[in-house]
């Protein structure tokens, strides 16, 4: 069996599930409704609110995609165990590592599909409002969002193997939404705490990825004053995402490899 084909068929089954179930459409519909409401502001005669639309749309797209990733990723492995669908799969000449990787790629594919649907609305919306798309910055923002999806997927897989699906979902969302806040609190507390406290803050800062690094929506919003990021910065961010995704992914594999089914 070719590894690439095995990865593709597992990923395809995850994407098929995401597309045929209702949750992903609900997320897209809810997000599009909110973006639509933001767009409708212009119909009320409040011109010049391109920035408002851009900010609302980009933030909502990022948030809803992250939500879709965590929702999809945390249930992948637990559902396989619970419904015992994993047995016929792993009865094939399929290494467990390849199975986890295929599942992860499937979640990433479904998240990209979700993000592409958002973009199909965002871009025409910007043209309609005659706003500047800021292509280069937007492209970098999309690329970093994809890296973030990969990181979230591997983190959610790890959580789903450590905790119950509900606890993994709560923790995954909490870590995503609170990561910025945790970073800010760490900065504030750093000067006030002792050596042990600082060590703890360092540990927390480096153990948890800083999702805020992957969000360029603020720069896209103010594209008239922000230039696209330089290639070394983009490479550093790519490396940062790869290291964390790799660590979390390896952790998930290490737990799954010896897990009795």
């Amino acid at each position: 069996m070719k590894r690439g084909r095995a990865l593709w068929v597992i990923a395809r089954s995850v994407m098929l599930e995401a597309i045929r179930r209702k949750e992903i459409y609900l997320l897209v519909a809810a997000c599009l409704l909110l973006i639509g409401l933001a767009t409708s502001v212009d119909f009320f005669g409040l011109g010049g609110l391109v920035k408002f639309y851009r900010e609302t749309a980009l933030r909502l797209m990022g948030t809803f995609t992250a939500l879709a990733v965590v929702l999809l990723a945390v249930r992948q492995l637990p559902r396989e165990f619970e419904q015992r669908t994993i047995y016929p799969l792993l009865a094939r000449p399929l290494p467990r590592g390849l199975f986890v990787l295929g599942k992860g790629l499937g979640v990433l594919g479904a998240a990209l599909f979700c993000y592409a649907l958002f973009m199909l609305i965002y871009v025409p919306g910007m043209w309609y409002l005659e706003g500047d798309l800021a292509w280069r910055l937007l492209g970098q923002h999309i690329y970093l969002q994809v890296l973030q999806m990969g990181l979230l997927t591997s983190g959610a897989f790890l959580l789903s193997l450590l905790f119950s699906p509900d606890a993994a979902l709560t923790l995954g969302l909490l870590l995503y939404f609170a990561s910025g806040l945790i970073g800010q609190v760490a900065l504030t507390l750093y000067e006030l705490t002792n050596a042990a406290g600082r060590l703890l803050l360092y540990t927390a800062t480096y153990a948890l990825p800083q999702f805020v690094l992957f969000d360029l929506s603020g720069k896209v919003l103010h594209s008239e004053i922000w230039s696209p990021l330089s290639w070394p910065v983009m490479a550093a961010l790519t490396g940062y995402a790869m290291v964390y995704s790799g660590l979390y992914g390896w952790g998930a594999y290490a737990l799954f490899r010896r897990r009795p089914l």
Binding site: M1, R84, T85, Y87, P88, A91, L94, P260
Partner: protein
Amino acid sequence: MSIPIQVEGLTVSYGRGAKRVRAVQEVSFTVAEGECVGFIGANGAGKSTTIKALMGFIFPEQGETRLYGAPSGDPEGRRHVGYLPEVALYYPFMRAGELLTLYGSLSGLTRADLRRRIPIVLEQVGLGGRERELLRTFSKGMQQRLGIAQALIAEPKLLILDEVSAGLDPLGRHDLRALLQELRKAGRTIFFSSHELSEVESLCNRVIMIDQGRLCHEVTQAELQAVGRKQSLESFFISTVRGGAAT
């Protein structure tokens, strides 16, 4: 060619500390090429645990299990195996054809192989023409038939079937028996557990009995025939288990 199934001193426990339970203790047996072996025992006797260890789903505390010479955890050993789990649901959002494409692809079948094999196996299990139907509409018996189809999709040399007739109606059991006979005649190695002892009796050339995690008896084809003349396999099994006979 290596021996299809080798189980040597297999011991498997569940739980930790005071709650630790030995599900299987020092079980050893082999299944040779072309044999059809029935694996019988009461509920909780250790049949499914042994099969799961054989498939590499759980890890032995002691002993080892091999499929075609490869340790059970090694994917290579599963290359020639078709497996039916005791209980499994199949993805309800998929169509029957899509499910078989997934499993067949993972077994290494090409697209051309899949186009050829899918209608054949669906026909074999009595689901011909249902390739496009969503699995959420399938009854329990149809799911079990589909389970048998997925085990057969890659034309495996060895079939490991756990509770093969569970959920099948009398007609389904009859068809299954005919299918297994056909596969046996075609030279496939079959190892299966079942509570349907008449089925085991009619199909197998050897029967392995397990009770409370230990092998308690192994009945060869000659013994089976002798048993058949005097009493049914069911009454032989009951008297063996209740009588506490051991190998």
